[in-house]
Each structure stands twice: as C-alpha cells, then as structure tokens.
Amino acid sequence: MQSYISIENLAKSYGVVTAVNNISLGIEKGEFFSLLGPSGCGKSTLLRMIAGFETPTSGAIKLEGADVTDVPAHKRPTNMMFQSYALFPHLTVGKNIAFGLQQDGLAKSEIRKRIDEVAEKLQLTALLDRKPAQLSGGQRQRVALARALVKRPKVLLLDEPLGALDKNLRTETQLELVRLQRELGLTFIIVTHDQHEAMTVSTRIAIMKQGQVLQVGSPSEVYETPQSRYVAKFLGETNVFAGSRADRSGSELQIDSDEAGGRLHAAFTDRVALDAPFWVSVRPERVELATSGSGLEGTVEQLTYTGVERHYRVRLKSGATLDARRVNLGAESDLGVGDRVFASWSPQASRLLAE
C-alpha cells in the first residue's frame, strides 16, 4: 500500500558533498513524524526538499500518490514553520497570519473568520495588531505556527520549531503541539536534534546520520530495540560492551566480554550476526547495583545527585566504566564513592547491537 507521503530513493548533492543519500521513507496520514539527528545529518535538507525549497538530485516525493517532486514550493499543499519563525517584520500579527490566505485570493470575510479561529486556538487574539518586534519568543513561535496552520496544509513541516525557546517553555510547547496535531488530525513532520523532543512529540522517529536513515520506529521501539551502536548511543545514555564470544543455550545467550570483564546474559535474537563484531548494550536505569552477590565487580567512582535520580559511575575491574541510575524514592543512598559493588541486569535488558 502506498503511504500518504512517500519518499523514494531521494538524494541531494551539493557538488561533491552528499547531503541526503538515497533515502526511502513512508509517512502515514495523521502521523507526527520526527527526523532526528545531529547537525549536518541531512535532516533539514530532507525537510526542505519536501517543502519544495530544494530540488532533489534524484528520487521522488509523492503526496497521496501524486508525484510532487517538480512542483514549486508555492504550489505544494505543505506549509513550513521556520526555525527563525521568519515572521514578516513589516506586517502586524494579523497580517502575517492573513498573508497566505490573501495569496490564495480568499474573500475578506473568510480570511477574518479563519484568523479569528486560529488566533483563538493559539491565544493570539489580543496580539493581532502588534508587530513581530513587540512579541516575546513564545508569542512569535505561536504566530509562526498560526501562519502555517491557517492555510490548512495537508502536511505541516516544522524545522527545529522550539530551538529558540527556553527549557520550561519548550516542554510546555511540545505538549501543546501534540494536542494541536491530534485535534486537527494533520500530518506533522518535525526536524530536531533534540532526542527528548523527538521522543515527546512523535508517533515515529527516523534517526539520521550522514544523509542516511539508520532506523525508523515509534519512540519506544527505537529506544528499547536500537539496531545499531549509533542509535543506542544517540537516543538516551547507554553502556556498550564489545562481545568477544557468544554461546546459545535455549532462548538465552551467554556472552563473554573482555571489555566488561565477565559474562553477560541476553535474550537470543537472530537479528544480529554473532560471527561479525557485535556489542551488548544496557541502559543505566536497568542496571542493578548491590554490595554483594554476582555480576560485574567494580567500585563506585562517582556519585551524582540530580534530584529525580542518583547517577553512579562504576569503574569495573576490567578498567571499563559502567553507568547506573536509581530513581530517588526518598531513601539515602546505601552506596558511596569507593564502595565495592556488583552490577547485574536481567537478560531482557541486554540488547545485541551490530556496528
């Protein structure tokens, strides 16, 4: 079945530099889809190709089955919210929002109605006569959103939309975006380098690196079952140990790791070839630390208190470090710096990773 938006073998090169390298993706109607990756990974270029600002070197972009690859930006049913908001400084908030509707030649009364509607939804009613220079960062962000949404696009493209907001406002706005997107039933594609943001807002995330998509999945899929070392490390924090040898016993794998200095356990999977180099990853919050028992032996080297959690950095006997976390449930930590500890985790917490 054809996706709502389908990106087929899309590539973009600038001279010898390849920004987007043969990407194929399907995005469904009503999704909140994230393109996540570090700066320079090609995520913005991909978004700009969907908007029509960049012409692909090869490949195609289809919207509802129709090829829009060569349709110019002003004729595409997509609207973009820019990172810098790109509000027109010479126009009032109301006229900024009306801009696209006037261009479509809508009747004045219809424009008025739609502006009032969107202004109310985004709490901009009192600001319609102000100029962008008289607004706060959060207000500008809402105007930029209103200006794009008022056109009722099939797809709303958001390029790092919250990058300029401070942390508290950003979290608030993320939830607001999700609420709006559900309410309107629109398809949103967001570009971000902030993994928390991607996890918070998205139905699915595409993790990108050097012009390619490494993995696509729901936030829990990409976090719980990363398929590569890069994805595991990029999303959240994780401990990664190189595996030296693996033996299968039933549904479990016994893995010897020289790096960790001991035997690790993992659920069997045929997803990762064990004759090629492989790694075992475990999230810090899944690691249990005990003063006695079995597991990897080490000493607590650092203890950080963040309020919500305590972070332990353990120096293993092998010389490697292991991070562990405990949620702060009110009790004092029974572990201190210099204490001897044994680290263990359930086989289901281990993830086998390819390069």
Partner: protein, 300 residues
C-alpha cells in the same frame, strides 16, 4: 570609594566628547555660515567691500538695526525665481525617479550575487568617486559635444546622418545628474537588500507567493528604508545642483543653483543671492522632514 565610580564616569565623559566633536564641527562650519547668510539676506546691496550694508549702525548712543525684507519680497514675487525653483524641483524629481528605476534592479542584482562578487561589484559602483566630479562632468562634455564621442559613434554606425544636439540641453543635465548621483541611490538600497533575511522570501513562497509576488509583498516593502534614504540623498542635493547644469545645460534651463551663482558673481548682489538661498533651504525643509518621518515610521 572612587574605584567603583571611576570607570562609568570616564566612559560617560568619553561619550560626551565623542558627541561634542561632530556637533562643534556642525556648529562652526554649518550653523555659523548659515547665520551669516541669513544676516546678509536681510541687508541692502551697496558698492564696495563687502558689497552689502551692515545690519547695524550706530547713531550716537543708539544702535539701529536695519532689516531689509525687500529681497525676500522680490524673490517670492518674481517669475524668474519661481520658474527656477520649479525647474530645480522638476529636474530633481525626474532624475530621482529615473535613478530609482536604474538603481533598484542594479542593487538587487548585486545583492543576489555571491558574497565575493558582491564586494567587487560594490567597488565598481564606488570607483567613479576616485576621480574628481568636475573632471567627470567635463568628460561628459566631450562625450556629448556635437563632434563628441557619442555623435561620432552614432554617425559611424549609421544610426544618424547628422550630429544630435545633446550638450547644452536638458537631456544633458539629466545624463550628468543621473550619472553623478547614481551611487548615492544604489548604496543604501543595496545595503537594505543585502541585509534582508532570505528565509522571509522562502516563507512567502511557502505561503503561496510566486517569485514576483514574494518580491512585491516582502522584499520591496522591507527595502523601503533604503529607497527613502537613497531618494533623500539624491533629491536634496540635486535641487541645489550648480556645476552640472552650468557645464552641461543650456541657457533655457535655469536651475536655482545657477540663479544664486549669477546673483552672486555676475550681479554682485549678495543680499539677493542670500535671500534666494534662504528660500531654497526653506523649500528643502519640506522633503527633508517628509523623508525623516517616513524613515522613522519604517523603523518601528
């Protein structure tokens, strides 16, 4: 005690000094001469040196102030001056409009080039300033003469069979003024266009504008401060321009700058020349205030 206060007082004085220097300059070199000219405009012409009566005369222990408003009455009622003022305003308005049409596409073109070629192109716009304006106007005389370069070229190509009379006509004045003042129109427009945020154009395109409508709805309104600055920089000096109409124009185009020159040097009527000058300044206050208020409005 002093340590905390010292730096701020120091910078404060430095700031004041920095502002005081240009203001002192303006006071000595503009306001004082202006007062002198205003004074002369109210005196009476006489033979001798200086060629005007002093404004004050002592009669025993009484100091008499004698102000002569005759000159102003004459300037404001005489058709010759009225015509000269109108001609000056017309020439300034037409050449400002013509320069805007030439300079805007030029500035737009330069601003859309890559940064490295931009600086070369801006340099080329400024290069004429490297030689004296007088020399450049004289060169135009030799180009536009009946036996000049332009006519020689047109004759050789066969476009005309006898030389065109361009020198000493109004056309020559326009050519000279537009050529000389064009950079003053190009540079402010270029500077607003080159500092414009390109994503605004993308936003306009995204909201449904073709390239042309994005230009008219976003680029052009945002460049208005530069357009206004360019118009002010060109219009105001052109109204009082003397050298170009004197060298390139004919007797039939009497501009006010030339009228002042004739009063001053030919008729040696300094009070009349001063009165014409003061009226010209008063006339220019109108466009200056207009440009200033438009600009401050654009900024908010």
């Amino acid at each position: 005690m002093l340590t905390a206060a010292t730096p701020s007082t120091k910078t404060n004085w430095g700031k004041r000094l920095l502002i005081a220097i240009p203001y002192a300059w303006l006071l000595v070199l503009f306001l004082a001469p202006f007062a002198l000219v205003a004074g002369i405009s109210l005196s009476t012409v006489r033979l001798g040196m200086p060629p005007f009566e002093p404004l004050t005369a002592r009669d025993g222990s009484i100091l008499n102030l004698r102000l002569n408003f005759e000159n102003f009455l004459y300037v404001l009622t005489d058709d010759t001056y009225l015509l000269a003022y109108l001609t000056s305003l017309k020439v300034a308005a037409i050449s400002t409009a013509a320069m805007l049409f030439i300079a805007y596409p030029l500035a737009y073109g330069i601003a859309s080039c890559s940064p490295s070629s931009r600086s070369l192109l801006v340099f080329l716009v400024i290069v004429p300033f490297w030689s004296s304006m007088l020399i450049r106007v004289y060169s135009w005389m030799s180009i536009l003469r009946n036996d000049g370069l332009l006519n020689a070229l047109l004759l050789k190509v066969g476009l005309i069979s006898e030389p065109l009379r361009i020198l000493n006509t109004e056309t020559a004045i326009y050519i000279g003024i537009i050529y000389t003042y064009l950079p003053f129109m190009v540079l402010p427009i270029y500077s607003t266009l080159s500092s414009a945020d390109r994503t605004l154009i993308e936003a306009a395109r995204d909201l449904g504008c073709s390239r042309i409508s994005a230009f008219w709805r976003v680029t052009f309104p945002l460049s208005l401060p530069g357009v206004l600055a360019g118009c002010a920089l060109v219009f105001i000096p052109v109204v009082g321009e003397f050298v170009i109409p004197d060298l390139l124009g004919g007797a039939d185009t009497q501009m006010i700058g030339r009228a002042i020159w004739l009063e001053f040097f030919n008729n040696r009527d300094w009070p009349m020349a001063a009165a014409v000058t003061i009226v010209l300044l008063a006339l220019l206050v109108v466009p200056i205030v207009y440009f200033q208020s438009r600009q401050s409005r654009e900024r908010t």
